[in-house]
């Protein structure tokens, strides 16, 4: 690293009141670097948690995740369900007094959890994977096969089965998929190993 950035100085263990192991420090730094967000600036005011619409369903709330990231508790954070329950509504990002883009930190944590094979929420991971495969195939979302694939993979075979007929009768399901899959596949191919 060419620049000894302000960020690096601030996350050095000798300037922190709590001593972190080398591994813990590396995790904190990786999250800060990849997200571009100063997680180390969080002072636990709790506004992110107070405004989070899904905090009620989380195993650890957003402010706690921020604290655990500061403390380098990688495995606990990456194995949490909470990072997958975050719906990306951006309320935390909008309200953070330290201007940390908390929702973006959640994106980074999900990316890291997948890379390390630590993702725990089977439903959300299955849905995301089915969605991204769907657009690689057709270019645009084709709801009928997306729902079918999700149901098959997640084992929730009959989820929303009662709505299919209604949606069809209301003309709310497309009958033919788009044919722009190749355009999207080229983008995934160019991303190479990053493909999910």
């Amino acid at each position: 690293m060419k620049q000894a950035t302000e960020r690096e100085q601030l996350t050095r263990t000798d300037e922190m009141p709590i001593l972190l192991t080398e591994e813990a420090r590396r995790f904190t730094e990786e999250v800060i670097k990849r997200s571009g967000e100063r997680v180390d600036w969080c002072y636990q005011c709790g506004k992110c948690t107070a405004g989070c619409p899904v905090a009620f369903a989380m195993d650890m709330e957003p402010s706690r995740i921020m604290r655990l990231v500061q403390l380098g508790q990688g495995e606990r954070v990456l194995k949490s369900k909470a990072i997958w329950l975050c719906v990306g509504c951006q309320t935390c990002t909008t309200r953070c007094p330290q201007e940390i883009d908390t929702a973006k930190v959640m994106d980074t944590l999900r990316e890291m959890a997948l890379e390390k094979g630590l993702a725990t929420d089977k439903e959300v991971v299955t849905f995301f994977r089915s969605f991204l495969e769907n657009i690689q195939r057709y270019g645009r979302v084709f709801e009928p096969t997306l729902v079918l694939q999700y149901n098959l993979r997640s084992g929730h075979l009959l989820q929303d089965a009662d709505k299919g007929t209604l949606m069809l009768s209301k003309g709310k399901l497309p009958l033919r998929p788009s044919r722009n899959g190749a355009i999207v596949r080229r983008i995934f191919d160019a991303l190479g190993g990053r493909k999910r």
Binding site: P53, V54, F56, A57, L85, V87, G88, C89, Q90, T91, T93, T94, D101, A103, M106, D107, T108, R110, E111, L114, D121, E123, V124, T126, F127, F128, F131, L132, I135, G139, R140, V141, F142, E143, V147, Y150, S154, Q159, D160, D162, K163, L166, M167, K170, G171, K172, L173, P174, S178, N180, I183, V184, I187, F188, A190, L191, R194, R196
Partner: protein, 289 residues
């Protein structure tokens, strides 16, 4: 006036056909010209940015490259947010954008300065007075709870749409067509978005709260500007009834359907029959259809 490049979004051809159709009718009526981006592809929605930042930017960049105009309009709050985020990166993070270009290999992106608008903004810019003048059937007596959701208004630094806590643009359009916007506090509360598939119980809880607030505010209908919000608030009323034994029977219309009605566009083009909770009884009751 030059045409806006129109990005319909994937739902426009499926669950939200009535949004697309009423959008086209209303814009035609107002003389707002829309030109669909040829061969547009999915913006990646939540699943792309949730697991791969570069992918989410690349999918939007591809659409920008295909766009016939530098001013892009979409009716979907989620697509709007993705486009805004990508254009923000294009304007503020050159190194990141260079990586995106490597992936997309654009042919027509250089030197272009994009402006991304939600359809609400386009009609708002068209002018409230102009809209009022064209109203043939004021929606008198109809109380409307305007629901904006998350992605239209947040984060304000990136989208710059309106006041993130108390947006007014849709309320002003609704007032211009003679209806009464409801005062309520759930305008920008989250509907649960994609959790409708992986964790439907979350969506049921959040949408119940929103619908209850609309009802408490005395609203006859809810007006939305996003296909995801619409289907969560409308379709999920079936599950709320089944599991929580509460029947809101609250019609959830696209704002373009209400505008279209006031502008005298015929009912068939507006697709009221496609909505799950039928809005026609209340519209009939108010003498509007």
């Amino acid at each position: 006036m030059t045409a806006y490049a129109y990005f319909p979004g994937c739902s426009a051809h499926g669950t939200a056909k009535e949004y697309d159709r009423s959008t086209q009718s209303v814009c035609a009526k107002l003389g707002i010209e829309l030109e669909e981006i040829p061969d547009w592809v999915c913006c990646g929605a939540s699943p792309a940015h949730a697991v791969n930042h570069l992918l989410s930017l690349a999918l939007v960049a591809k659409n920008l490259d295909l766009s016939p105009s530098d001013t892009i309009v979409t009716g979907c709050a989620a697509c709007y947010n993705r486009f805004k985020t990508a254009v923000h990166a294009l304007q503020h993070d050159r190194p990141l954008w260079e990586q995106v270009k490597q992936i997309v290999q654009p042919t027509k992106l250089n030197g272009r300065d994009f402006r991304v608008l939600h359809l609400l903004e386009v009609i708002h810019e068209f002018g409230l007075e102009g809209l009022k003048e064209r109203v043939v059937k004021p929606l008198k007596g109809l109380k409307v709870a305007c629901y904006y959701g998350c992605l239209l208004v947040r984060p304000p630094k990136v989208v710059g749409f309106d006041d993130p806590d108390n947006p007014k643009k849709m309320d002003e359009l609704i007032a211009a067509i003679g209806a009464e916007p409801a005062e309520w506090e759930f305008k920008t509360e989250c509907c649960g978005a994609f959790h409708a598939v992986p964790h439907p119980e979350i969506v049921l809880r959040l949408t119940s709260n929103i619908l209850q607030a609309a009802k408490d505010a005395g609203a006859d209908v809810v007006s939305v500007a996003c296909p995801m919000c619409q289907i969560n608030l409308d379709l999920r009323q079936l599950d709320i009834q089944k599991r929580h034994k509460v029947n809101f029977n609250m019609p959830v219309l696209y704002f373009t359907q209400l505008l279209g009605l006031a502008l005298g566009i015929n009912e068939g083009e507006l697709g009221f029959d496609r909505l799950i909770v039928d809005p026609r009884p209340v519209l009939k009751d108010k003498g509007l259809i």
